[in-house]
């Protein structure tokens, strides 16, 4: 029996008295590609922050690679890209190279250059992160999340600042890592078309889990038709078809 890479049990989280997550239990296995969607304020980022220990657990449990969160220490197995940096100072004196080495156990110059080239910023290695455009900063952080060859990648709205070409190559890369190396991927996005194209499983969150299953199950679910209305469900599923055709 394979160990769940991520497992949450009855996760509940409140900001002051507002409940943002309600009894979330989910599991993610090696090789999974899970897309998390939901409206603004539905708790998507809070769920990720609870899983990674960025926010302290209030109720419920989180296990990473079979270990309780508070005992987990192999953070190099996880690559994480937040929605936006909470406190990036534009005067921060760190070079892209220094950012890339952050949290790295061993430093291999060739690997670093390779991942930077892959993200199209090989020429920016020595530049200070604060001097880069937002899109270039995002690509540098994407490179950082990939550099330790993690077994689990967690992306929270990763492509908002990227141009379409870089965005497509980013998603193609995540699919390749998932398909060829069995890297588990958790992708939080508003772009349901992307979920339909790449993710094997979809989780619709609105403080609690509304739906979990494949995208095809989602489109065929009469329960979801009742929840979204047939029009909205059709648009979401049609968007997926369009993305597939364009891709």
């Amino acid at each position: 029996m394979s160990v769940n890479i991520i497992a949450t049990e009855n996760l509940t989280f409140c900001y002051n008295s507002t409940r943002v997550l309600d009894d979330i239990s989910l599991g993610l296995e090696k090789g999974d590609y899970l897309g998390i969607v939901g409206p603004n304020g539905s708790g998507k980022s809070t769920l990720i922050k609870n899983i990674l220990g960025i926010l302290p657990l209030q109720t419920g449990k989180v296990f990473l690679f079979g270990q309780p969160l508070h005992e987990f220490s192999r953070w190099d197995k996880i690559g994480y890209l937040p929605q936006k940096l909470s406190s990036l100072n534009t005067h921060f004196p760190g070079s892209v190279n220094e950012i890339l080495e952050m949290g790295l156990r061993r430093k291999n110059a060739r690997e670093k250059q390779q991942v930077l080239e892959m993200m199209g910023i090989g020429h920016l290695a020595a530049r200070l992160i604060g001097e880069l455009s937002y899109g270039e900063q995002q690509r540098a952080l994407l490179a950082r999340s990939l550099i330790s060859r993690p077994e689990l990648l967690i992306f929270d709205e990763p492509t908002t600042a990227l141009d379409p070409e870089t965005r497509d190559s980013f998603y193609a890369l995540t699919e390749k890592l998932n398909r060829e190396h069995g890297t588990a991927v958790v992708l939080v996005t508003h772009d349901v078309g992307i979920i339909g194209k790449f993710a094997r499983r979809m989780l619709y969150l609105d403080k609690k889990i509304i739906f979990t299953g494949t995208f095809e199950d989602f489109c065929a679910s009469s329960e979801m038709t009742g929840f979204f209305g047939s029009g909205s469900q059709h648009i979401i599923c049609h968007q997926h078809d369009t993305t597939k055709r364009n891709g």
Partner: protein
Amino acid sequence: MVFAEILKFEFVQRALVTGLLIGFSCSLLGVFLVLRRLSLIGDGLAHVTFGSVAAVILLGFSPLYVTLAALPLVVLSSLAILHLTRSRRIHGDAAIGIVSSVGIALGVIMASVSGGYNADLLSYLFGNILTATQAELFLSLFIFCAVILFVIFFYPGLFALTFDEELAKSIGVKTNLINIILMALTAAAVVSAMKIAGIMLVSALLILPPVTALQLSLTFKKTLITSALVAVFSVAGGMLFSFVFNMPSGATIVIFNALFLFVVLLTKKVIQARR
């Protein structure tokens, strides 16, 4: 020649070494504080130091040990600022303001109870490095070693935490531990720096060298080194200048720091204009 003559005096040697050790420590800690927009913590803790010194004098401690006796109170206050910030309902600047104003209010009350502002208390307001005691020299050396070891052993975590606290947490950095040590060391550095610059000017030692170094757009390690160099030259230059021209040492050191910043800003402006 004049400098060589001055440096023969033991109390001058002691003052210079104490100043260099504390200036160096403050400049390193300051890089992390300035980048995390916690620059004013030095000012806040200096105000708390005033309250602590007033309490220590009221309790009748020998002036020789005032710095050592004030240390625990200021360290506790720095941890209180950290705790208030963590409560998420109070921003960092407001937390600093609260602890700082409570500290100074208690200082004023205790100074009043002990019979007014005596010479001892006033000497801490403006500092006088020449009166640095042997105990204060050892305290400065201890803080210097602690800061160096802290930066070396926690460098990857400090870098990540300064870059982005949430990202640092997501890669397993023990952010709570690092924050506690950073705050405690800052408090210790502020307490010992009050002998150099005085309570009124102590935050300049934490802010000016890092801000000067940050203007040079260097990498993180080079910024730390440059900040330390600016501090060392400012302390040495400021102290020697103050001896020769009979000026207050703390204020002269701060002016030297500010001159470094001014020169760097001016040079940048000239270079930009020529491009």
